[in-house]
Symmetry: C2
Subunit: 228 residues, 2 copies
């Protein structure tokens, strides 16, 4: 009788245990889904101007000794967040920017290019050769850059696509004045409904600005003063 | 016996019916939530340039006779969508824009102001008095406009908040060149995680540009050529 009860109890315990495990797994799954739904894809908003701080650690993650530059260290700013998102690229970076003269953002792109990330840049025709523009530096490094073909209009976008799934967009041109002085905004999102249209538009503009589809035109304008 | 069975059956049918109704309601509720989650809040992306079409019907919804202007009619464009979102304001419009010279967008804001919508505008100090700027027109109509106080930096945002819950943001200045010629983007969303930071930033800039908090400075620069 004792053995029989004990066996019954064992069956009960095992049965209840199995039910508890199944319910627990179901509950965890539900909880994970709930949390994912409530958080959703990445959505981040940055406002500028951003204070000038050291961002050396973002370029050299394994640096053994701390940076000795005189700038403030260990401070997260809108600019450091922007740079972090840019440097998170692992496979591709599609950049569509009106004016690009910021040296640290340029350094970031050169680093990605060196790491094997496929970088494509579209910029404005007039602004690509202005004093301080980083477009020439990117081209010299072997990065493929195209520009708006028409002389009558501006390619005024300021967006980037990281690995085809993270969108960085806003009012901010990639210049030092925009980052450190102006009132600007940048939004970073992985929401597919927002990312996909920008990805399609980049591809459309990339093909439209393919120089092999256009007849040679007059020379680009000589350098002039940077304006955002 | 027949009566008793019949009663039992009635109870069974009623019970099963109640269960079916409860399950049906639960299922409908689940389905609605699923659909809402998959669609989520409004997310729309517009690209420019936008073809020049008639948008008269957006200003005068109850117009009895069709517009007789020579522009194409009945065509939805990026600009008509932008204007529709602007005109959807019922209580408030907070606009933060670097350069504003587009007459139809200005007409839209004047209409909202006339309808009792509370309009607040923040703009750039230099660009508010350039030739073609609509800022003077808005001010003359009694709309409250503030501008960046510093002469050294630009208020370079281009965003609007409709009824405090719909964000319109992007690269597009509110000018005719931007709308009809340039490569530009505008995103419209009601995603709270994106709308709220812009609402807070607007309020911060609104208070920071309150003229009563600042000493009088030198006169504004005279008018000069529009640039986006």
């Amino acid at each position: 009788m004792y053995q029989q009860m004990s066996f019954k109890e064992l069956v009960k315990v095992l049965g209840l245990g199995a039910v508890a495990v199944v319910l627990g797994v179901e509950w965890l799954d539900w909880l994970t889904r709930r949390l994912r739904v409530s958080r959703g894809p990445l959505k981040e908003v940055l406002f500028f101007p951003s204070p000038h701080v050291c961002v050396e650690h973002l370029f050299t993650r394994l640096r053994r000794f701390p940076c000795a530059c005189p700038l403030p260290h260990g401070i997260e700013t809108s600019f450091s967040r922007l740079l972090e998102h840019l440097l998170s690229a692992r496979t591709s970076l599609d950049l569509c920017v009106f004016s690009f003269s910021h040296m640290e953002l340029s350094r970031g792109i050169l680093l990605l290019h060196k790491q094997g990330v496929i970088v494509r840049v579209i910029t404005d025709r007039d602004y690509m050769t202005i004093t301080g523009s980083q477009i020439g530096t990117l081209r010299k490094a072997g990065i493929c850059v195209r520009h708006e073909m028409s002389t009558a209009v501006h390619m005024h976008h300021k967006f980037a696509l990281v690995d085809g799934k993270k969108l960085i967009t806003g009012s901010l041109n990639w210049t030092l004045t925009a980052v450190q002085s102006n009132k600007e905004n940048v939004m970073i999102t992985e929401e597919p409904a927002l990312v996909q249209p920008y990805q399609q538009e980049f591809q459309r503009l990339w093909e439209a600005s393919d120089p092999t589809n256009h007849k040679p035109q007059t020379k680009l304008k000589p350098s002039f003063v940077i304006s955002d």
